[in-house]
């Protein structure tokens, strides 16, 4: 039986890597890859909870994260294609009109 704090530490490490990627990378493709890592960190935390109490609820939540992640990827990639077509670049700073 793997210790639950160890699993949560792995989830936290993946979360840190993902957040770093989202903040540091300016290419939309790599931002999306980092977001995938974030989803996986959250899923791992749910699985760890389910394993800790030996209940199936953790895996049910993981399934829902899977659905959310799939939807997010499809929509975000479609938006990314639009950004590339319109601005000719994948730089997130090209689409910062709302900020100004």
């Amino acid at each position: 039986m793997t210790a639950t704090p160890l699993v949560l530490a792995l989830a936290a490490a993946l979360l840190v890597i993902g957040v770093t990627g989202v903040l540091a990378r300016r290419n939309l493709m790599f931002v999306l890859i980092s977001v995938e890592l974030l989803f996986n960190a959250a899923g791992l935390a749910f699985i760890a909870g389910g394993a800790h109490w030996a209940q199936p609820d953790g895996q049910v939540m993981y399934l829902l994260i899977l659905a959310v992640s799939g939807t997010e990827t499809a929509v975000a990639l479609a938006l990314m294609l639009r950004v590339e077509r319109r601005f000719g670049t994948l730089d997130v700073d090209a689409v910062s009109l709302l900020r100004d």
Partner: protein
Amino acid sequence: MELEFLLAAALAIFSGAMAVTRFSAVHALLYLIVALLALAVCFALLGAPFAAVLQVIIYAGAITVLFVFVVMMLNLGPASEYREHAWLQPGQWRGPGLLASLLLAEIVYVVLPGSGAEETLQVDAKAVGTVLFGPYLVIVELASLLLLAGLVVAWHVGRGGIGETG
């Protein structure tokens, strides 16, 4: 089971960090797949075989294929063809290939009898399905609505807007 989990966790963290820090999308995707597979091994070691299988099929399979499609659509023209030729040199596969074969060796070792994997309490697909279509039925319906909405949005956004070229 600590040692096996630590190995898979180290692989997940290393390939996750590599995926985030690569400069070409294809390399990052290769390392992302290895990270997802390492997490699948972690799920299996935690006694969640159903989630592990779904992780391989849906994350490492379907979602990554979406990324690959977009990478292919974004790179058109002879310049990018030259670049892709440079990307797909056999040397670029060594890192992810090595990590993936480490994972394969680990999963083979864990599946073999006598490794102590049977001690972990397993929550199998039947238990998950019973709960999923019992107390969680409404959430399942909401998830299906979400997927439908995602399908409609991806189709609408992806085909190009009205009055806009391309």
